[in-house]
Symmetry: C2
Subunit: 191 residues, 2 copies
Amino acid sequence: MPEMMKIRARKNKRHQDLKRLVAADPFTTDQELASKLGVSVQTIRLDRLELGIPDARSRIREVARDAYEKVKSITESEVIGELIDLELGESALSVLTATADMALAHSGVIRGHHLFAMANSLAVAVVDAKVALTGSATVRFVRRVRVGDRMVAKARVTEISGRRHTVSVAIRVGADEVFTGEFAVYAVEDT
Amino acid sequence: MPEMMKIRARKNKRHQDLKRLVAADPFTTDQELASKLGVSVQTIRLDRLELGIPDARSRIREVARDAYEKVKSITESEVIGELIDLELGESALSVLTATADMALAHSGVIRGHHLFAMANSLAVAVVDAKVALTGSATVRFVRRVRVGDRMVAKARVTEISGRRHTVSVAIRVGADEVFTGEFAVYAVEDT
DNA sequence: CGTCCTCTTAACACCTGGTGCTAATCTAAG
DNA sequence: CTTAGATTAGCACCAGGTGTTAAGAGGACG
C-alpha cells in the first residue's frame, strides 16, 4: 500500500481504482473489493456510498435485467422495429433506430441483414394469415445506413395469387431510400 | 385452489406451472412464486429441490453471466454462426445450430432473416477486402428450418469485376438444401 | 504544542432471500 | 384402519448487504 501518499490523494486514487474494478467486473462483492484494494470492507461501503455505486446484488440484477430485455427485444418480437401501422393484406409501416450493435466493427455502417430482418418481418406481418413464411426475396441496399439513423420501413402487398403474396418493402432514412426489396411470402395454416 | 384434484395431480400441475413461471421470469423469488401458486414458501422450496431449479439469486446471476460473457444473438459477432473454413476471395463455410429464439412463435420454424443473416455475413466475410458491403441479393428459402437443425452454409465467389463481387451462398441441413442466395458484395476502403 | 477534522476501522442490530433440519398435520391410497 | 406422501411451520444458519454509533490514526493549522 502507498503509505507515503497523502491521505486525501490515497483516497482519490482508491476511488478511481474502485470505479475501474466495478466497471470491469460488476460481480465483485465488497469483500473481494476490500482485499483487492487493501482496505476494510467498511471503507469500501463508504466509498460506494460517496461514489453512488450500488451493491453487488443490484449490479448483477441490473446486468441481468438489461440482457433480459435486450434478448427479448431481438428474439421475441415478431416484428423487428416498432410496428406503427398495419392494414392486414394491404400495407404496413415500422420504425427502427440503428444502434451501435447493428454496425460493422469500427465503420459505423449498419450491416445489411438488419435491414433485411426489418423488411422481412414487416413483409411477413402484413400478410393476412395465421402463419406466413418467406419463400424468396430480391433486395437492394441502396445507401449505407449509419448508427443513429432512424429507419422507416413501408410494406405494400402488390399481388396475391393463392397462398403466394408479393410484398414490396422500402426502407427510408429521412427522404433517402436506403433499401428496397420484393418478398414472396406464403400463407400457411399447418405448422 | 383446485381442492377437488387428486393430491398427486395437483402437485404435478404445480410443478409444470412452476417451471413455466420460472422460465418466463427468472427473477421471481420463492415468496412471489408461493403467492402466485397459492402454496407456502416451504412447498416452493421443496418443489425447486425436486425439479432441480436453483434459487432466484443464482438464476439472476446466470442470466447476467450469460449476457456478460458470450453475447450471442444476431448482433455482436462478425460472422453469424461459426466460421469453419475461409479462403479469402474464393470460398467460406460456416455452421449454426438453430435455437428456439430464432423461431417464429409456436411454430418452431426458423424465421427467414436468420438464414439471410448467416448467408450475408458469410458472403461479406469471404470477400478479400478490408471492408465489404452488400449491394443487393436474391434469395430463396427452399425448405423450412426447425429448431435444433444444424445449418451449414457454403459461400463461393463466382465473379469479380472491379469492386463488385458476386457470391453464391447455399445453406444445407443434412443433405437438404434449405436456402440459396446470390449476393452482390462491394469492396470498400474508406468508411 | 494541543486541538480539530477527516479518514479508517470496528461492532452491533437488522434486512432479503435463501439452506438444512426437525416436527406436526392432513389426506389419500393400500 | 394404518401408513406413506404432501404440505406447512419453526428454528438456526448463511451471504451480502444497510444504518448507526463509536473509537483510533493521521494530518493541518493556529
